[in-house]
Symmetry: D2
Subunit: 435 residues, 4 copies
């Protein structure tokens, strides 16, 4: 996580202030529940809430931690400084540090998921708008980077919409999976704390109690979470790659928006580089790579070890902040993408009519030519277009073996673009729903 690739709302989730606020809420709600159970005096539970609204002094907590080398004890010591040592003496009773730390981490991830869900929804809205705008903008479809058959720019946007919509569903599942809390004590047996405390704290904080925890919440949940971010990041790369290809000098079917004051290159003022989508490609690599250590974190020793912690202190913020930034940047790129329909038409006609070769092939077969014979007829005329720049339709019309099978009208019909776009509405209905 570096400032250059960060947005403030997501960064705030990972700020020490936020963390300590969540710790406070967990401890205070736990005291309430303990008081309900009669385990601790009501007045002590109420006293804790006097710290509500007080901004915790991060540097003071750091100072205490430097001595105790234990972050939760440092916080509790500071909390006692605020509410009074005597009043605070039942705080954290029966709990273990991980009860606080793990529940907090899951709250942070849940909030991060909420932002990512919003990000995805914004991206979907942009993709849908551009899809509808360019539903009928014809461009050549390419496989292997080679011209294949016509498609439309709207279908391109629509397929990324469908992909990102799947990612939205995945993100929602990941959010649901990670929204658990645990207040179950040192090894998860509730020996020193009643399950009712966990239930109360989780209820107050919008979590589901973890059905069975050890000292920690099981890390398969987190592995699934970060793997989901990795899949979404890979889709970001997918869309970024499409745009980078479209912006190539020789293709130039679209360009990232280029603001007036922006300088493309210190040396070549005419250059408009797809630097945003190139940047997104790199960010995708980063987010994706974090899925692996998250998976390695699953196998903790016995009831827990703390090897996952240093990983999560890094990838928790890094993966969510980076993906949030990437989604927002991508949404902006999509919204402002400059599309050049005329270049699309120019490119499609680079090898005149050649992209219609399959239609001709089919037509020949349907009129009775053997597959092999039809293939040969199409191939020999196609090669003349490819190598000599001729016009495919003209060549076919002059090939007696072809015209023995297809009339001139039949040949001409094969070069109608509408043929290729006739099911666009059907596909749009499948992607966006009927309206």
């Amino acid at each position: 996580m570096i400032p250059r690739y960060s947005r403030p709302d997501m960064v705030a989730i990972w700020a020490p202030e936020t963390k300590f606020r969540i710790w406070f809420e967990i401890e205070a709600h736990a005291c309430d529940a303990q008081a309900d159970l009669g385990v601790i005096p009501r007045e002590n539970a109420e006293a804790v809430w006097t710290a509500d609204g007080v901004a915790f002094d991060v540097s003071r907590i750091d100072e205490i931690e430097a001595v105790t080398k234990h972050d939760v004890i440092a916080f509790l010591t500071h909390l006692a400084e605020i509410v009074g040592a005597d009043e605070a003496r039942f705080v954290h009773q029966g709990m273990t540090s991980s009860d606080v730390l793990d529940t907090t981490f899951n709250i942070q991830l849940t909030r991060a998921a909420d932002i990512l869900i919003t990000d995805l929804e914004a991206l979907l809205a942009a993709l849908k708008r551009r899809a509808l705008e360019h539903k009928d903008t014809v461009r050549i479809g390419r496989s292997h980077g080679i011209h294949a058959e016509p498609t439309t720019m709207g279908l391109t946007f629509a397929r990324f919409y469908a992909e990102m919509d799947r990612n939205l569903q995945r993100m929602k599942i990941a959010r649901q999976e990670i929204a658990t809390g645990a207040i179950s004590g040192a090894v998860g047996t509730f020996a020193n704390i009643d399950p009712a405390v966990e239930a109360h704290v989780c209820d107050k904080l919008g979590l589901i109690p973890e059905p069975i925890s050890t000292q920690v919440i099981p890390r398969d949940r987190h592995a699934a979470f970060f793997a989901t971010l990795g899949v979404i990041a890979s889709s970001v790369e997918n869309l970024a790659t499409e745009i980078r290809h479209m912006q190539r000098t020789e293709v130039l079917e679209a360009e990232e928006f280029f603001s007036a004051g922006q300088k493309g290159s210190s040396a070549m003022p005419h250059k408009r580089n797809p630097v945003l989508t190139e940047n997104l490609t790199g960010l995708a690599r980063l987010v994706r790579s974090m899925a692996l250590p998250a998976m390695e974190n699953v196998a903790l020793w016995h009831e827990r070890d703390i090897s996952h912690s240093s990983v999560e202190r890094n990838i928790g913020p890094d993966a969510t902040v980076t993906l949030d930034f990437a989604l927002a940047r991508l949404t902006n790129v999509v919204e402002k993408l400059v599309v050049y329909p005329e270049h699309m038409m120019r490119n499609m006609n680079q090898y005149k009519g050649l992209v219609m070769s399959q239609r001709v092939l089919l037509a020949l077969t349907q009129k009775g030519a053997s597959r092999e014979a039809a293939y040969a007829m199409v191939q020999r005329n196609a090669m003349k277009v490819w190598e000599e720049g001729r016009d495919f339709q003209t060549e076919l019309a002059a090939d007696p073996e072809v015209t023995a099978i297809l009339s001139q009208d039949e040949i001409a019909e094969k070069f109608d673009l509408g043929y290729h776009t006739k099911h666009v509405d059907t596909i749009f209905a499948r992607v966006f729903g009927e309206d």
Copy 2:
């Protein structure tokens, strides 16, 4: 995928015979739909089914592919050899190779998912049985590899049950995600083939039509699939690691089953090594590593490139065969795991009573000692146990500062094991449901 780590049912899914059989079904069902639409003659569609039940000659197809360098054309050529060139001439009409290849790959992954789901269910059954068997078998809970507080072996099995149950849910979602098919032509526009063909083929083969495809089915689906396998593999490692720890010479709370004829080591006949779970640890690393190239596969160029193919030809079989083998092996290990309750008790009492220190700490606090004072009292007596091998309860009972707060009865009560297991039923109900 190597024979040593393979099971036949999963291997069969990836056999050439299976693949060609699926190709045949796709082509034959597509012909039926084309005939329904009046695009091709009914008799040609029916003729294709004469190959139903015929075993395709894999070596013949390979022979043709060696010339054409195109696998689908090779198959179609061979199919025409069986049903007759003329009869077969409408086969594959309007389709592109990827229509067949991608739909087939998804069918194979769906079938693989079915096996993995069955594997997980078997593992869950084994874990549940062992959990119930050892619900009350007390052992020490460990955090950081260090004794913490008592728990039970049943809870250990139960937490792996809960984790594997989440994996089962993930696998079901992954199966659902991957069970799509596409018959949409060269760039996914249905230009040369009616969407009704796709609908028919998918219906017959138990798939959902891909809402929008290009030449290929989008690879975010596959990335999510293989990431799920990676998460499950990491859970396999988690359980394997627990068993490896339990089997350590100094711990020996459980052992992998050791058959009569088996030799542990050529040099040390007494050794019983946890080789199965060590093996599973390695297999987990393998399966997990395959999530990364699957994610890199998402960003294909434009409507598709074929870079994903060589990856999938490997990880498709490798990841599913390896995980199937690993889950089956793990189930076997769990079912036959030799558990040593007496060693569990021996280990727990290694530092006499020390694991009860938190209870004492809490008791002191609850009777009015300050947190810091209580901590000091517990710590100084604990150190005597730790360093001099004394008995914790005895030491406490002889510490006047402690006995000024707690009576001898109150001290004794803190060493009652039942205290730690009182919520086991509650947790079991949460994991396995009430009964």
Copy 3:
């Protein structure tokens, strides 16, 4: 490792026959050394060599292993069947299975490295030949996929030569690192076997004795080895990506060789897809992904566990066979690459003269214009070329602010291609050496 992406020499290294032959050599040489030391009778050592030249019966060994569940014991049993139980009774004395297994694995990796070194040398020869052939073939250099300044195709080949030459050096280091053997017994103390045996076996088999082993040869060596393969694979992807870009329909500056009988697509006969380099891109992902589990293998428990074994049984063959295939395929692609110099020139002139903008910018600055003013002059004329298809030189020549600084001759000089290629010889000398 699948047959489609395999070559026989590398596959042979990993065949059971090869493995058993190496096992035999290790055991036989070890017996010689033991006889030299007087530990075992000379005649028993000599008797072992009677199995020299005998083809071991893999299925018989498998049969025995099915009972003993131990591969080395199975082999030794079979060996005893050949040389006689009595004669063979000192074979393997003082050794542990891993002495044989690890030394063998390192021999296999060393041999694999030798093939990979040969592969890289062949690739280098092809790259050098093509570099010299196209030393002066001008094409546009591109950054961000956007035209920048002219370069030559020879420089493109030369930079991949330099990169692959670095990979050759890395591979040689990796080979040197992995060429160690260990015959040090159950925990590496040589308690039951003299270090002289290790020295003799290693000397005979071209290895260096591992300075300190445990039961196993330390796995950081293997991690470094597979990481090196991952780096080389990434360079394969780099070159493959260049070719895929060059073959794009709109660019078409080069094409993979297209054999006469080959069919590009079942549907679009004119298409020539860069399927070989796309395939290489996927293979690179595969090889790269194997570096991770190799790194995870480093941390074995105490003197060893066997978790690395299942990983290495897979990635040992998979990574080396795949990379060997990839390098050979890439060499073939480079050797036969069809280069289109005329398309290179066509592409460079797509935006007439625009690629010379930096030269003009510099000239203006050098003649006294401020950086900002020069930038503005260049930018406004460049935009006319970009947006209206005008000729950059003509526009500049008509811009009074420009001509106030640069004469027409000075402007014309900026469009001389020789300016850009003047240091090609220098760079070639740096890459290929002076001659």
Copy 4:
């Protein structure tokens, strides 16, 4: 990179101030070379050095970049503010931003490598000291976590010494590989700048000129660099894992140093958790994971794209800062590790004499017993030790079949520890050299 896991010297390498200082040096040296060549006036080159010693205003540069969206231009603008717009007008002439950025990045990585080399040397010194200290401290060697044969704690330290020494060599190679610079212009042709400038700048900054660059220095160098960090991190995990195992409650052969004020757990005051080595395990996962995106960075489009940049802005600091911290922490752990020789002896004798079983097996064979018979004799007595807690030597001495072959003295001799340590000096000489 987070402060908790950072050390100041490494962090300083990545500070904006350091970066801008290096940028300045590159530009100023380049001006000198340009003046030497007569390309720019000498006084302009000299004027640039007036900024030597001036602290660049990072916030001012950020401010300019916010407008220009180009970091190098922002810096050059600020530099011109310091040395005067007119004086500065030849700065950066003929160069491209990447000339500055890539050369700077390599300088930073080279400096980072220097720190890591120093770190490794400090770790090696600590390991050597502890190895010599515990050369003869006998402990049980374990394979698969199971007792095997005696070894010494000194050998444990020595094997990590040998591994880390290999890592030191790898790090030195990685440093050498990354210490290159490039001042070759927009596409690496030196069109606008003489190679002599590159030579001068590299010479002044301790770099080797990159033999052939494009716009950028080729990224296979960086992939190899970060892969090396990943291998070293994996070795850190290896040593950390050993210590974590030694500190397990049941084993307790060593402990991380536990300072007086430190609190182990808020709930269980007696616990001393191996939190430093657990932490290192997690940090290793992090560093290792960064090798993958570094490898993905190799395949840039044509002469370059900028996808690598966002990756490197993160992993450049993150991987080096984290590994520096990890190595320093590990050195500290090794230096202060509390070793318990008496616990080692206790553990070794847990199953009385059983670890000597291989010696007995060998002795029986050497005295003429068949391998199978000897195995059976050892096995049946070993099982009595294992299952009934008997003493192995006593059992053997009472087994008539054994005593028919071995005398009581011969049996006794097999239980001599010196037998296992007799080659320790030899191994130490191999690892540390003779002295």
